[in-house]
């Protein structure tokens, strides 16, 4: 794809974790029996009127504040279309006056991605197509469950600031973490509570004008988002290089077959005849209330990464720091710092051993974790032993000293370590002479022999230091 630049903007829909729907008091619950959470309002029965859910507004403000948006007075519009997933034949959404506008999100690497807007709207019902292999055009008829109709959504629209599939994935990952941190969303892409559409275009490197974009839908994981973007970019470049033109359209990502295809919507289907919803009055957030929400928000991931990175002496964008914050492990770092233990060691252990057993995190208490770090730092346990003890702590719980004793672990240090090294050196006298003469790589041989001779109990870092000191002394 050389010579071409990818331009991506993302539209992310997130369901809000409210008890009830956006405009009626039906339960907002995933997985219930079909059509058991419905009422005259969400079924669009004549004479029913919508009343806005206060908590949904609260969540929308939290999202706006977390994304550095202006939270502004907003109104609702009707988006008219004929499709049975909304029994009213319109969806209530926000159009030219969204509640949140003009913000930004910072990726772990430091890049800021513009947020154009975030607005409230209601989700649609769920359609199932019967016959024709479940494909909409070949189906005999369709069945509709309105439990999801009216569930509150916030749609977050980024500016076209993303330049690769990797950046798009990083953006969604970060946005998801922010949404979860605000409490507004559970962030579950696989259950459909977080849905991503991608606007993708290509342009010659150096060009500042945008190419014609296509909107790609139906990606249900970060992986499929990346695959769909890569496919779509390749398709557009091939098209343009072949002398063709990209047609602005909506395209459907087929995960099983790994390609996008045109959804063949009629042009006029995009004329939604938006007009102000006469049954709802404006939402005018009081600035003092918005300030209160801002003050009450917990620290967002970018801030947490900076804190962890500072404590550990690492870069905020380093993989270990990103992993620790993504998995919500920063309280362990805080506990480590409070106890005066080695926060860098803590981050390494958390990003590796703990991250790989994250399902068992409930077994690990911060105090025991810090105790283990101290044992390793003090040389009571070797690195290999500390890792083993930590895995045992995660899988079965328990205190590190007890587990170490049960394994018969004690780091071989001090005089015992010197004695063990004496034996290894004596057994490999030729190699030692060459090492002393300058063959640095032979250090690995001594360390390996020492590990074997001591059944892994030797403090290898200390042993390496002793070897270098002995060589420097020439003996």
């Amino acid at each position: 794809m050389s010579g071409w630049e990818t331009v991506i903007g993302l539209e992310v829909h997130t369901e809000l974790r409210t008890e009830t729907k956006l405009f009626c008091s039906c339960a907002n619950r995933f997985g219930d029996e079909p059509n058991t959470n419905v009422c005259p309002v969400c079924l669009g029965l004549p004479g029913s009127l919508p009343v806005l859910n206060a908590r949904a507004v609260d969540y929308a403000v939290r999202i706006g504040v977390a994304l550095h948006c202006q939270v502004q007075p907003s109104i609702f519009h009707r988006k008219n279309y004929f499709y049975p997933d909304m029994p009213k034949d319109y969806q209530i959404s926000q159009y030219d006056l969204p509640i949140d506008t003009d913000g930004w999100l910072e990726l772990p690497g430091g890049k800021r991605v513009g947020i154009e807007r975030a607005h409230l709207e209601e989700d649609t019902g769920k359609t199932t197509h019967v016959g024709g292999g479940g494909r909409i055009h070949d189906a005999d008829h369709s069945l509709v469950d309105y439990n999801r109709a009216g569930v509150p959504l916030v749609e977050i629209v980024s500016r076209p600031d993303l330049r690769s599939a990797d950046e798009a994935r990083a953006y969604v990952d970060e946005l998801r973490a922010i949404l979860v941190a605000t409490g507004a969303s559970d962030g579950k892409m696989e259950e459909g509570s977080l849905r991503v559409d991608a606007n993708v275009s290509v342009r010659p490197v150096g060009s500042t004008a945008f190419g014609t974009r296509c909107e790609v839908k139906n990606m249900n994981s970060l992986r499929s988002l990346g695959r769909a973007i890569d496919y779509e970019v390749a398709r557009q470049v091939r098209l343009v290089e072949g002398g063709g033109e990209v047609v602005q359209e909506t395209r459907h990502w087929n995960e099983a077959e790994g390609h996008t295809s045109s959804m063949r919507s009629k042009e006029e289907a995009f004329d939604y005849r938006y007009f102000p919803e006469p049954d709802l009055v404006p939402v005018v957030p009081d600035p003092a209330w918005v300030d209160g929400i801002r003050a009450a928000l917990p620290a967002m991931p970018a801030e947490l990464r900076r804190g962890v990175a500072h404590a550990a002496g690492m870069a905020p964008e380093s993989d270990a720091v990103v992993t620790v914050v993504r998995l919500g492990l920063e309280p362990f770092v805080t506990a480590t710092v409070a106890a005066g233990a080695d926060a860098g060691l803590a981050v390494r252990r958390l990003a590796n051993e703990v991250a790989s057993e994250i399902g068992s995190l409930a077994n690990l208490g911060p105090e025991q974790f810090v105790t283990l770090l101290r044992m390793e730092s003090a040389g009571d346990l070797t690195t290999a032993q500390a890792r083993t003890v930590l895995k045992d702590m995660l899988t079965g719980g328990g205190d590190p000293a007890g587990i170490a004793a049960a394994h018969g672990f004690e780091a071989l240090g001090g005089d015992a370590l010197e004695a063990a090294l004496d034996e290894v050196v004596a057994d490999n006298a030729d190699a030692w002479a060459r090492y002393v003469a300058g063959e640095d790589k032979l250090q690995g041989l001594f360390i390996g022999r020492l590990r074997g001779a001591t059944a892994g109990k030797a403090d290898l870092a200390a042993a390496a230091a002793i070897l270098r000191a002995r060589r420097a002394a020439g003996c």
Binding site: Y83, D85, V281
Partner: protein
């Protein structure tokens, strides 16, 4: 969009009718075009005024922030919800084959 002062055409009305899935005859098209033009002419009177400092009216009622507590209440029993449907299958509303994709 064309300015309001510009008269609405039968083509505009036919387009709007199609969007609303309304079948109108040629005779109705002429009649509705005239009626809609009269309504829009009325609105065009406002265009003659200097409204630079007047904020748009979002709603005729002087109200904002009419909100409801987020507390769940039972809705309709399923049998009742489905009772008015022309067709039901598997506890769902059964609808004819859908000819287009969701927007």
């Amino acid at each position: 969009m064309a300015g309001m002062a510009q008269r609405i055409t039968t083509a505009d009305v036919a387009h709007v009718a199609r969007l609303a899935r309304l079948a109108v005859t040629d005779e109705e098209l002429e009649r509705f075009t005239g009626q809609l033009a009269a309504v829009l002419d009325h609105a065009a009177d406002i265009e003659a005024l200097d409204l630079g400092g007047v904020p748009p009216t979002a709603h005729p009622l002087p109200l904002a922030n009419v909100l409801r507590e987020d507390v769940a209440r039972p809705g309709l029993p399923r049998e009742e919800a489905l009772a008015a449907a022309p067709a039901v299958e598997d506890d769902r509303f059964r609808v004819p084959r859908i000819l287009g994709e969701a927007p």
